[in-house]
Amino acid sequence: MSTRQFLFSGFGGQGILFAGKFIAYKGLIENKEVSWLPSYGPEMRGGTASCGVIISDEPVGSPIVNNPDVLVAMNLPSLDRFESKVAPGGIIFLDSSLIERKVERTDVTVFALPATQMASDNGFPTLANMILVGKILKELGEYNDESLKAALAKVISAKHADMMEVNRKAIDLGANS
């Protein structure tokens, strides 16, 4: 891998920015060059939220993700908005609990996971984002026990240290499904 561009998208409150930050930190811990750029403004107040993350072996040029290699769509408006932007040969991860339609593109790989349903079935209803993160890491061959543990420690503040374990559970649930 030289450069991989991610776009995380969904409703504000689904942990879109957090998931992106986790992936960026994991890259940083693995000595990659990284950038994280959120959409900001009215979009964050109840509308769609998204963030672009770039993980690269070289210094990151433009931090703006127009054509992601990996799209994570956690709601229908996000899939509608970004499906056509995914780079040819790219991958789409979607939350099939909230997105009923199929992906129309035929030149991309799709992983559909009922993440929101899985999250509430397992007693951590707010962690659908991390279930998808687990799936992403597994499918990209980036599941690495050590660095993901270290990245969790970076994104979860000491005050919420009790959330570490449940986040890890959510990641593993996604990775093993």
Binding site: K21, E33, L37, Y40, G41, S62, P63, I64
Partner: protein
């Protein structure tokens, strides 16, 4: 990675300012720079500093004037419409020769405009912004690391030349997170014998003032100030050149536009087009030298901007209009894509 943390550009500015010894921050919230104020609000009380959300931008800049008069490092931050409100105070800072740091995380304008990134305050920043003959030292970061480093640099230059420095960033630079290493050397602030620190009955009063009613004296002050500006031009101009040695097409871009342009230059090179990039880091003083030199071997400059074309005037001046200078831009909160810049390069190469 050892010492690197992921931080937003706005947070990096705030933390770097604290590291540079700034203990007085005055601001008023406005997107997309609010994280500077939020960070200061959290940190300043813990380190014995002052965070104050003023009743307005105008109040905030005048509080900066007060602290700077007392010889301490002070800063304020805002975004475009808020910087316009500060304009009067900035002019007063210049008139009183006060060192301070003003941060502008630009958004689209004019008027209230929008909240997405823009570079359309270039004229305001580099030509003064307020009334009267003066300049600010204008620093244009292009990464989160530079947001931090140029903040420290801004305080140092401000003290060294008794000028107000400005960080001219944009919404992207403020909002994005990148790894930052904050372990840099900070030089202690110089002595400020002119500051109003109290005479303790040991010396004459120091006076900090921008009012001078005798024309002969005001003229002298202006001329002396511009002699100092000449020193800044001579000593402090900063820029980065990328693949310029054999370039036939040269991009001029700063901040986020330079990041986008670098992608385009790389792609152009892959296609066999000799493209390069000159990235001004100080916008005032503008780096004339690399443009003058490049004008000897490039056939076209392309100024890539998030404005209707403002820096392009300085590119023309610096290159003495010897070769064509064209504009490649998006405005209103839009950002040029690498493909758009590449198209402009390809067009220029034909």
């Amino acid at each position: 990675m050892a010492d690197k943390v992921l931080m937003k550009g706005n947070e990096a500015i705030a933390e770097a300012a604290i590291k540079a010894g700034c203990r007085h921050y005055f601001g008023y919230p406005i997107t997309p720079q609010t994280e500077v104020a939020a960070y200061m609000a959290k940190r300043m009380p813990k380190i014995g500093g002052t965070f104050l959300q003023a009743e307005s931008e105008i109040a905030a800049i005048n509080m900066v004037y007060g602290v700077a008069s007392a010889g301490l490092r002070a800063m304020t931050s805002s975004s475009s419409p808020g910087i316009s409100l500060k304009g009067e105070g900035i002019s007063y800072l210049a008139g009183a020769d006060l060192p301070a740091l003003v941060v502008n995380v630009q958004r689209g304008g004019p008027g209230l405009g929008g909240i997405q990134p823009s570079q359309s305050d270039y004229f305001q920043a580099t030509r003064g912004g307020g009334h009267g003959d003066y300049h600010l030292i204008v620093l244009a970061p292009s990464s989160v690391q530079e947001m931090a480093e140029l903040t420290v640099k801004g305080f140092e230059l401000a003290d060294k030349y008794r000028m107000t420095a400005m960080i001219l960033a944009d919404g992207t630079m403020g909002q994005m997170m990148e790894p930052v290493d904050l372990n840099f050397d900070i030089k202690p602030a110089p002595e400020k014998p002119w500051a109003t620190t109290g005479t303790k009955m040991q010396r004459k009063h120091n006076v900090v003032n921008s009012l001078s009613l005798i024309p002969e004296e005001l003229e002298k002050l202006n001329i002396a100030r511009f002699e100092r500006y000449d020193l800044v031009k001579k000593n402090e101009t900063m820029y980065e050149e990328y693949m310029m040695d054999d370039a036939e097409i040269a991009i001029a871009a700063f901040g986020i536009a330079a990041r986008v342009s670098k992608n385009a230059v790389k792609e152009a090179r892959k296609r066999g087009i000799k493209a390069g990039l000159i990235r001004p880091i100080t916008l005032w003083p503008f780096p004339d030298a690399p443009f003058k030199k490049a004008a000897e071997h490039v056939k076209e400059f392309i100024s890539v901007e998030l404005s209707m074309g403002q820096m392009i005037e300085d590119v023309r001046l610096a290159s003495e209009c010897k070769v064509k200078v064209s504009l490649c831009n998006r405005v209103g909160g839009m950002i040029p894509s690498p493909e758009q810049v590449l198209d402009a390069i390809v067009k220029a190469s034909k």
